[in-house]
């Protein structure tokens, strides 16, 4: 999804930036439905740490992914500015899946020009390389643009969940 927007946009595309565990990340704006404050979350047992639980979004039950834990870091602790980014992802069978991403703080919506985007480095980043859609140059520093389809790859997530379930 985000890679597509990178390829086609010869002008600018919009990105939401947010911070997770002290690092700033960006996410292409399409697919993001809303940002809600952190409310009551129901823990689902025997799931890996990055599945924080489920929330009730106007009657729909939506899973919440802890991005910090998904990146292999300690689970984030709920702070004053913590919130949940709700976004829609296309599933493997063309169905729409809704996820919530738990982030420490939401920063801004920015226009990033295509020429300001660098390809992902082969190594040396803090998170898995396949999660990175590209690196955006912002105010003289690099911000990681996430590949949402990889971060929320259902196959990946469910597989881990099954393993976690069996281990318990």
């Amino acid at each position: 999804m985000s890679t597509q927007s990178l390829a086609t946009a010869d002008g600018e595309a919009q990105y939401l930036t947010f911070s997770v565990a002290g690092e700033t990340y960006a996410l292409a704006i399409e697919g993001i439905k809303e940002i809600i404050e952190l409310g009551h979350m129901t823990v689902v047992p025997m799931m890996p740490a990055y599945v924080r639980g489920v929330i009730n979004l106007r009657g729909a039950v939506v899973p919440v992914i802890d991005l910090a834990a998904r990146f292999g870091q300690p689970t984030s602790t709920a702070g004053r500015r913590s919130c949940i980014v709700i976004l829609e992802v296309r599933g493997a069978e063309g169905d729409t899946l809704v996820f919530g991403l738990l982030v420490d703080a939401v920063c801004a919506v920015l226009d990033i020009a295509a020429h300001a985007m660098e390809p992902a480095p082969g190594f040396g980043s803090r998170i898995r390389v396949d999660f990175i859609a590209g690196m955006a140059r912002l105010d003289g520093r690099f911000v990681i643009v996430l590949d949402v389809d990889r971060v929320l790859s259902l196959q990946d997530l469910a597989q881990m969940a099954t393993l976690a379930g069996e281990a318990a």
Binding site: T42, V44, P45, V54, A60, V61, L97, A158, A161, A168
Partner: protein, 696 residues
């Protein structure tokens, strides 16, 4: 478009009619003299033919027509409805179904395979006594197939289009009856219409038809618009005077127009029979044939066909309403506003009724599904060379339509299994002192918020030694002597089969595990009962609906869980003093019975310290019992089930979720999975349960 909707209705009705026809044929097989059944079969074929004609589904019409020929002769008593003919009719019934799916549902021409199948059927029908000449049968009583000249005049009602009818389709149908000679389109009403409504029908037509049929057949063609159109039919050969009289009473301009269109002079030469009433003109008097169609219309009036997804949306909304209502009530209670609380209670009671009503709309009797199996039993038992009868009881037991649909396949499988493996060949049965005819009993009943479906056979029962040997051979059971329950459970293992030979029905070992998986996915359970030598019973237990659950709300580590109420046996307090001893021992003494304990907190690896007081919920499923230790009991709770989504498909012990009145999501515990997990852990490893729980 409207016509499309009408076609959908036709397809649904035709399917039902074909099913009725099959049922009637099966009954006819055992009671060949039953005129009632024969009439039902004829009616079904006739209605299908008529309706298919309206939609121009030529392949269906022509085949149904040939079929009708034979049926008509059977009905008249000219030929006996013997076994052979019924078998042929059953095959024709199948072919009609196939044609319906191809021609009406897929809207394409019959495939080569279908046509190839049709040819021998047609030949057999002809050989079996159906008249071979086309379109002669409709007038069996009339003096041969002598062609008559008809005048048909029809003025359609304004609502014709709105009812999904197309005037053109009637023309098409009439063309199938004979040779059209002249046609005049009456569109003068169109000019007079003011204001003009494009959805209203202002049309009519007059035509001359050369056809070998009765007036009733022609009147029948208009059965669908009967009562809302003006119809006049005259046999110009024998009732020319009636036609003249009818013409006479028309407005002169109209009559003149008509005669001009028909190429006849106006006024008619012998126009002097004013006193005569139009004898054949009123169709309702000539409706012996049309009676079944009208009865259908009456039946339809009591029913409303609703699309399943609309109903689904309604049920979902009603569920949301319950949640929202509970939220309002909590708020009112928190504010201590007495009248407000009362008002919300009243609203909630109504909302609950609403939801119940909505759910009840989805309930259908299971009998329809059961009756479909008569055919299977008949066919399969013949193929196996066994004599088997199917007895059905409790057919009026109602359950969720979604469940009924998904129950068909597993039941079919069990049925085939029972016929192939359960019931013995007639000579074996006779030797064992049993009647030669085997008996299958399919029963349904309600039991404590569940529906129980049982399939029993009076066969030889399960051969335990063979199952044990096969199970050991495949490494499914250890050397230790298994309990009866464990032994019978082996049958549901993937790939397990004791059949010495593989038939095309069963014996491949594919099936029982699929049956079990299907039933489990419906939140049901399946068990086998087989007292040695007394046949086998498969008992399936299912919830009444998939949409709702009656549950006990409990809390552990600040999270709410719903335990299906049907599996809750009792609740009791866990005395704080005994807590640590019980924890180590892993079981509690329940009135002299050993009750294994599951500490939900530990089992799910939940954070936080346990409170001072805990509660034990005694849960039971599949005949297994355990005590589930939770923090608090929050009471009974009826709730709409929300699926957890594909991400959580691997989670064991949780079957879904539900939104509480406070907006918090509660997880629904999957008790059977929980208990199964428990027993698996105990039987595979020899760790005492207490250590197991601590290890988790």
């Amino acid at each position: 478009m409207n016509l499309d909707a009408a076609l959908q209705t036709f397809i649904a009705e035709a399917r039902e009619l074909l099913q009725d026809m099959e049922q009637a044929l099966l009954r006819l097989e055992s009671e060949p003299a039953d005129a009632h059944c024969l009439a039902a079969v004829f009616r079904a074929a006739h209605t299908i033919k008529g309706s298919a004609g309206l939609f121009g589904l030529e392949p269906l019409v022509s085949f149904a027509h040939v079929l009708e020929d034979l049926l008509d002769r059977l009905r008249a008593g000219a030929l006996p409805a013997d076994r052979e003919r019924v078998a042929l009719l059953l095959a024709c019934n199948d072919h009609l179904s196939a044609l319906l799916e191809q021609v009406a549902v897929r809207r394409s021409a019959p495939t080569a395979a279908l046509l190839a199948a049709e040819q021998p059927l047609r030949e057999r029908l002809a050989a079996s006594g159906g008249q071979a000449q086309p379109s002669a049968a409709a007038a069996p009583t009339h003096s041969a197939s002598e062609s008559r000249r008809w005048h048909v005049s029809v003025r359609f009602g304004q609502d014709t289009f709105r009812h999904g009818m197309d005037p053109l389709s009637f023309l098409r149908y009439l063309d199938g009856l004979g040779q059209r000679e002249a046609l005049a389109l009456y569109d003068q009403a169109l000019a007079e219409a003011s204001p003009f409504d494009p959805e209203s029908c202002y049309l009519g037509f007059d035509l001359r038809l050369q056809a070998a049929c009765e007036a009733t057949t022609l009147a029948d063609a208009f059965g669908f618009v009967e009562g809302e159109c003006q119809l006049a039919i005259f046999d110009l050969g024998s009732d020319a005077q009636g036609y003249a009289a009818w013409l006479e009473q028309l407005p002169p301009a109209h009559a003149q127009w008509l005669c001009a269109a028909m190429g006849e002079p106006w006024p008619l030469p012998q126009a002097a029979v004013p006193a005569m009433e139009p004898t054949v003109a009123a169709p309702p008097t000539a409706t012996e044939q049309a009676a079944p169609a009208r009865a259908d219309a009456d039946g339809r009036r009591a029913w409303v066909r609703v699309r399943a997804d609309k109903l689904e949306a309604l049920i979902n909304l009603a569920g949301e309403l319950i949640t929202a209502g509970a939220g309002a009530r909590l708020l009112a209670e928190a504010q201590g506003h007495e009248p407000m609380t009362e008002a919300t209670v009243a609203v909630n009671a109504l909302v609950e009724q609403l939801l119940e009503g909505a759910l009840a709309m989805r309930m259908v009797p299971i009998g329809e599904t059961f009756n479909r199996f008569h055919r299977t039993v008949r066919d399969v038992s013949q193929a196996l060379g066994k004599d088997i009868e199917l007895v059905v009881s409790g057919g009026d037991t109602e359950l969720d339509k979604a469940l009924v649909e998904q129950l068909g396949d597993p039941l079919m499988h069990l049925l085939r299994n029972a016929m192939d493996h359960g019931i013995e060949a007639p000579e074996v049965r006779l030797a064992a002192g049993k009647p030669a005819r085997g008996r299958l009993h399919l029963a349904a009943c309600h039991d404590a918020g569940n529906i129980v479906v049982e399939l029993s056979d009076d066969g030889a029962g399960l051969d335990r030694s063979r199952i044990l040997a096969k199970a050991r051979e495949r490494g499914l059971l250890g050397a230790a002597e298994p309990s009866d329950r464990e032994l019978l459970a082996v049958i549901f293992e993937p790939g397990f089969s004791t059949a010495a030979t593989v038939t095309n029905l069963s014996g491949r070992g594919v099936g029982m595990d699929v049956v079990k998986r299907n039933i489990t996915s419906l939140r049901g359970s399946v068990e086998l009962l087989s007292p040695a030598g007394q046949g086998t019973t498969v008992r399936i237990r299912l919830p009444l609906t998939l949409a709702m659950i009656d549950g006990l709300l409990v809390e552990a580590a600040d999270s709410a869980y719903v335990i299906p109420l049907s599996m809750v046996h009792e609740c009791m307090e866990l005395a704080p003093a005994e807590r640590s001893t019980l924890r180590n021992r892993g079981h509690v003494d329940l009135r002299g019975e050993v009750l294994p304990l599951v500490f939900l907190r530990d089992h799910f690896g939940l954070q936080g310290a346990a409170p001072r007081r805990e509660n034990i919920v005694v849960i039971r499923a599949h005949g297994l019992k355990a005590g589930l230790v939770v923090d608090r009991l929050l009471g009974e709770y009826q709730t709409v089930i929300k699926p957890l989504g594909p991400l959580f498909s691997g989670v064991r012990g949780v079957s879904g979720s539900s939104v509480l009145g406070s907006g918090v999501v509660a997880l629904i515990l999957d008790v059977p999975a929980l208990l199964k997990h428990l027993t698996e852990c105990e039987s595979t490893s020899f760790i005492p349960s207490s250590t197991f729980f601590q290890a988790v």
